[in-house]
């Protein structure tokens, strides 16, 4: 399952992904993160207009037995929030890279992209974690 890391996305060590289209990044959590959490019961996200900063907490995701912080992969302003997740957090389990997207950010500093991993790098990172 850890091979399920779409090539066109960028990744962070906190198991978030970002899809970059021009100056907009769509953000969510990876399949690996979803498996660690189990059935997701609640997602707490910021509001449109909020500012988020790279590597700082922008929300939380909860499963039955755990709460995890969500870390912004990039800095910018939140321009869209996936509201249906409020009533249907299970979208994150079912389709973490598409229906389970969380927020869209208008990027402040595209230079930050260099800090993110490619799909191949992320897969290697996961393999390293596994062996520990």
């Amino acid at each position: 399952m850890r091979e399920d890391c779409p090539d066109d996305l960028r990744y962070t060590k906190d198991h978030e992904w970002a899809r970059i289209e021009g100056n907009i990044a769509t953000v969510g959590i990876t399949r690996h993160a979803v498996e660690q959490l189990g059935d997701i019961t609640q997602v707490d996200l910021p509001k449109e207009g909020d500012e988020v900063a790279q590597a700082t907490v922008f929300g939380t995701v909860e499963s039955v037995k755990a709460v995890s912080d969500l870390f912004a992969p990039l800095t910018g302003r939140v321009i869209k929030v996936n509201d249906p997740l409020q009533d249907s957090p299970e979208y994150v389990n079912e389709d973490p890279y598409d229906e389970g997207w969380m927020i869209q950010i208008e990027l402040k500093d595209p230079g930050e992209l260099s800090k993110l991993m490619s799909a191949a790098d992320y897969v290697a990172f996961l393999r390293e974690l596994e062996s520990q």
Partner: protein, 491 residues
């Protein structure tokens, strides 16, 4: 164990039924509409069930039959100390003189109860090595809250406001939560490779801004924190105090008195070490023992003795105040006192010895079947993990727990402490016979074998308890926390 699929009590009965037996009014009736203005009158009557006594009795009897309980079998939850609940305690607690006393009777009319409280305090002081013990906190977590309040008061009294509390990463969640309730900051300390907290770790983290260090001893890994005295010295040298979580005190009675190891304040759990019944989740009782320096700050009131008389002391200018109404869980005080008087010094010490013997016996007999993260002597509990089982078969701790239920045992604590992934925390207690432990070992081995032969059977357990695994995600996503009549919305 008979398992009935029992409806909710609200789904029983018929309009107009009651199980009440009330005296006649004997005086003229008073109509709310006559004696009260409209703005204080109830609009719609509360919709309580309408059932006869027979229906209520059957309902709760049937519900009771779908429970696991100590009197039925081994209940090896780690750090919960599920030891046998003596029946003489129940008899004593129900003596009318103790059971029917209202807390606001004049003190002269409650001398018996006050004496029980005073004697219990003296006994706990002796057992724990403390100057005084407050019996007010209603549970262990309440005791932690109390202990931290005492520590804050101590510092403020000296004109200081240190803001940090050091807590090892193996600690129970109530520890950091109690710190937050006191508006202090948690600093988490890593335990060492050997599972223990090390003096160097504490020394590096300890500065003048440390109000306290909170320690569980033995730790939640079932290991004695050998460095406790040195750690206490380090904390004291920087002006901080040491709080001990006494959840695991069953490993120490008669062997060590925490007050003599540098611990300044500790909570006892009467519902663990001292046999007061767990009641399906409570009530507990969390008395807090303190050394001399913290005595002025104890909650109000305390129980004092003057010759043959006992009284409540309310005039305590430096007290942290009150943490609950009245005086604490007296019903638990009298049970714990009865237990301590039955056992005596030799009995309590023997209880500790056999608790530690039983846990080590399980460790020795299971270490080759399950992964043992710390291969050394444990105290009253042992922590195993699913590391090898999961790697070899894909079967995890949760599955083992659910399959154990099919064997007639309550599972141990699972997934705690967090420092051991897939933890199984097993505390048999001293009241279990060696034969019961052998049966438990046999069941655990059988499950490990089955995990290799037929992992799906284990992963889909339980099979024989009348219910399959419950959908906890659904319960959290769409919380349904009460019954409502047909058609009524959730609000």
């Amino acid at each position: 164990m008979m398992r009935h699929r029992e409806k909710l009590i609200f789904e029983h009965g018929s309009p107009g039924r009651t199980g009440a037996s009330l005296p006649p009014a004997e005086v003229p009736e008073a109509e709310p509409a006559d004696v009260w203005p409209a703005n204080v009158r109830r609009g719609t009557e509360p919709r309580l069930p309408e059932v006869s006594e027979v229906e209520v009795t059957r309902h709760f009897t049937r519900l009771s039959q779908w429970n696991f309980f100590i009197d039925a079998g081994l209940y090896p939850l780690g750090s919960c100390t599920m030891k046998y609940n003596p029946k003489i305690n129940e008899r004593v607690a129900r003596l009318a003189e103790f059971a029917s006393i209202h807390p606001y009777r004049p003190q002269a009319e409650m001398q018996g109860s006050l004496e029980v409280m005073w004697r219990l305090e003296r006994a706990l002081c002796e057992i724990g090595g403390f100057e005084r013990v407050t019996l007010q906190p209603a549970a262990g977590a309440h005791g932690e809250l109390c202990g931290l309040m005492l520590i804050v008061a101590y510092h403020r009294d000296r004109g200081r406001r240190p803001s940090k509390v050091l807590i090892p990463d193996s600690a129970h969640g109530t520890n950091p939560a109690s710190v937050s309730l006191n508006h202090l900051k948690v600093v988490t300390l890593p335990t060492g490779e050997d599972g223990l907290l090390h003096a160097d770790t504490v020394r590096a983290a300890c500065d003048d801004d440390v109000a306290a260090l909170m320690l569980t001893n033995p730790s939640t890994l079932g290991l004695f924190e050998e460095n406790v005295a040195e750690i206490a010295e380090i904390v004291h040298a920087r002006g901080g105090l040491v709080y001990m979580d006494g959840a695991n005190f069953n490993a120490l009675m008669g062997k060590l008195r925490p007050g003599e190891t540098g611990v300044d304040v500790m909570h006892f759990n009467l519902h663990k070490t001292f046999t007061t019944p767990h009641g399906g989740g409570g009530p507990g009782s969390g008395p807090v023992g303190v050394r001399q320096a913290l005595v002025p700050f104890l909650p109000t009131p305390t129980v004092e003795r003057e010759g043959e008389r006992f009284r409540l002391e309310f005039n305590r200018p430096k007290s942290v105040g009150r943490l609950r109404s009245f005086y604490g869980n007296f019903g638990m005080h009298v049970r714990a006192y009865t237990y301590i008087r039955e056992m005596g010094a030799a009995g309590l010490t023997r209880a500790t010895e056999l608790a530690v013997l039983n846990a080590n016996y399980l460790r020795a007999r299971l270490k080759d079947t399950y992964h043992l993260p710390y291969d050394r002597l444990c105290m009253h509990e042992v922590v195993l993990s699913d590391k090898t089982l999961k790697r070899d078969t894909g079967v995890q701790t949760l599955d083992v727990a659910k399959r154990l239920m099919d064997h007639g045992f309550h599972p141990p604590t699972i997934y705690f402490p967090l420092v051991v992934p897939g933890a199984l925390m097993i505390e048999p207690t001293e009241t279990e016979t060696p034969e019961t432990l052998d049966e438990f070992v046999a069941a655990m081995r059988s499950i490990a074998d089955e995990a290799r032969r037929d992992p799906e059977r284990v992963k889909s357990a339980p099979h024989e308890v009348g219910m399959r695994r419950l959908d906890e995600a659904r319960a959290a996503r769409n919380p349904k926390l009460r019954w409502r009549p047909q058609g009524e919305s959730e609000g």
